[in-house]
């Protein structure tokens, strides 16, 4: 039993955790990039003219949001090989995270696109722009800036869920901390350090988002 905090041990494990932190960061950024793309696709499908596509997309979003990310990770990691598609743990995890947060982002995109005034579509039609060009050049550029803070919140949420990757053995922070703990029987330092790492990054990034919110708010106000 050691209730005290061992600074010597902290010095020993910090470099190892630092390397693992890079993996966590990598998983966060790649996962979020994937979520942004998947989210946009799902959002466009949810607004498709074809009711079948629309309802299928809504069902997929609802399904993904109602079931745990951990099970989705297991499903992809253990299940895909049955279809002849064996992915390594990191890739399977990234796809699961991208899908899960893509479903959340789809709702954000949809709100942003819905908020662009109908007159913009009509004006673009009057100028003889094709629907694709209207969407890409007129609607999206107006829809994205107001939703940046909401998307940022999902980035922070996604970051905090990357420890789930430890369940399939990805050597990110949590898994590394667990291994360190089980080697030395000193869990206090590694797990507390991981907690601190998440706390610092979350506080920093939510501060950044607030700043961004204020700047975007100022811009939106000055424009209108």
């Amino acid at each position: 039993m050691n209730a005290h905090w061992d600074w010597h041990y902290v010095h020993e494990i910090l470099p190892i955790l630092g390397e693992a932190a890079l993996i966590t960061l990598q998983a966060t950024l790649l996962g979020f990039a994937l979520a942004l793309v998947i989210g946009l696709v799902l959002a466009v499908c949810r607004m498709a003219a074809n009711p079948l596509v629309r309802h299928a997309a809504a069902a997929v979003v609802e399904f993904i949001r109602s079931t745990p990310l951990l099970i989705q990770i297991f499903f992809l990691y253990y299940g895909l090989p049955e279809f002849g598609l064996a992915l390594d743990a990191m890739l399977a995890g990234l796809i699961a995270i991208g899908l899960h947060y893509g479903a959340y982002c789809a709702e954000v995109y949809r709100a942003g696109i819905d908020n662009v005034p109908r007159g913009q579509w009509e004006a673009a039609a009057a100028l003889n722009l094709s629907p694709q060009a209207t969407f890409r050049r007129i609607i999206l550029p107006q829809a994205i800036p107001p939703i940046v803070p909401a998307l940022g919140n999902y980035l922070v949420a996604l970051f905090k869920e990357t420890p789930l990757l430890s369940a399939i053995g990805v050597l990110e922070l949590m898994q590394t901390a667990k291994i360190l703990g089980s080697e030395s029987f000193q869990y206090t330092e590694p797990i507390t350090l991981v907690g601190l790492y998440f706390l610092v990054f979350s506080l920093l990034s939510s501060g950044l988002i607030r700043l961004l919110e204020r700047r975007l708010g100022v811009r939106a106000a000055s424009r209108s």
């Binding site: 039993m1 050691n2 209730a3 309802h55 809504a58 069902a59 609802e62 399904f63 949001r65 109602s66 079931t67 745990p68 990310l69 951990l70 099970i71 989705q72 297991f74 499903f75 253990y78 299940g79 090989p81 049955e82 959340y104 709702e107 949809r110 709100a111 909401a150 919140n153 999902y154 949420a157 905090k160 869920e161 990357t162 420890p163 789930l164 430890s166 369940a167 949590m174 901390a177 667990k178 703990g181 000193q186 869990y187 206090t188 797990i191 507390t192 991981v194 907690g195 998440f198 706390l199 979350s202 506080l203 939510s206």
Partner: protein, 260 residues
């Protein structure tokens, strides 16, 4: 993670597409359920074991919900009405648990606390960690809902010479209660989904049973397919219950307005 399905709590209480979402979910549930029954051979062998796991999941979710609501109430009361040191403590609690990851909190309670001489059973650690985590988000929801009640309500109550406490209890909280039901519904679903984490501290919940069966039978797609459907059904139950509660609370508020 949580507090983000909340969306526009103030304007449209049920969120973006109330009936459509539930209907869609019900539709896939029915469709996939049929698929399970018709084509997944041997799913009868898995089901009893998985349902036993689901019972543990429900237990953790129910316990966690109670802890979450209690913690949210405490933290909100402290943040709004307590003297300064207590207020700081509440802010620290909310920021700490919102700022770190649920899994880290769970592991901390389960692996680190024993080093300080406090050993929790997996069940207790699971309920405590999830309850504390969701409670922090819930406190933000409660504070938002209370602050969203128009200032004029306080003024009107004071014009009627109601005391501060009675204003809060009879005027402000009933209105805030209705606005906070939908975001709490989302939080309960987040909590339900987060219960899967307790499988990582050896509690034999639904996710744990799924992994166990998967290792012995290797029928991955069937097992995890059924498990996803069970979670979906549980989420749907939470959604329906919260919608019923919202409906009743809204009606009661309206009746109060008519008679009072």
């Amino acid at each position: 993670m949580p507090a983000n399905r909340t969306g526009s709590a103030g304007t449209s209480p049920t969120g973006s597409s109330p009936a459509a979402g539930a209907l869609a979910a019900a539709a896939i549930l029915g469709f996939a359920g049929g698929l399970v029954v018709s084509s997944f051979a041997g799913f009868r062998d898995f089901l009893p074991e998985l349902l036993r796991g689901a019972a543990v999941t429900v237990q953790v979710a129910a316990g966690g919900s109670l802890v979450a609501v209690a913690m949210a109430l405490l933290a909100t009361a402290a943040r709004l009405y307590a003297p300064l040191p207590l207020r700081w403590l509440a802010v620290a609690y909310v920021e700490l648990f919102r700022g770190t990851s649920a899994l880290v909190q769970l592991f901390w309670l389960f692996f680190v606390l024993p080093m300080f001489g406090i050993s929790l059973s997996p069940m207790t650690a699971g309920i405590a960690a999830l309850g504390l985590n969701i409670g922090a988000y819930g406190s933000e929801v409660m504070r938002g809902a209370i602050e969203a009640v128009p200032r004029s309500q306080w003024e009107a109550a004071s014009a009627l010479s109601l005391g501060r406490f009675r204003t809060l209890r009879r005027v402000i909280l009933p209105q805030a209660f209705v606005t906070m039901i939908p975001p709490w519904g989302n939080l309960f679903i987040e909590l339900l989904k987060a219960t899967s984490l307790v499988s990582l501290i050896t509690l034999s919940d639904l996710a744990f049973k799924a992994q166990q069966l998967n290792q012995t039978t290797l029928r991955t797609v069937e097992i995890f397919g059924i498990v996803l459907l069970i979670y979906l059904a549980l989420s749907l139950l939470v959604t329906l219950a919260m919608r019923a509660l919202e409906h009743r609370a809204g009606r009661r508020l309206l009746r109060g307005k008519e008679t009072g």
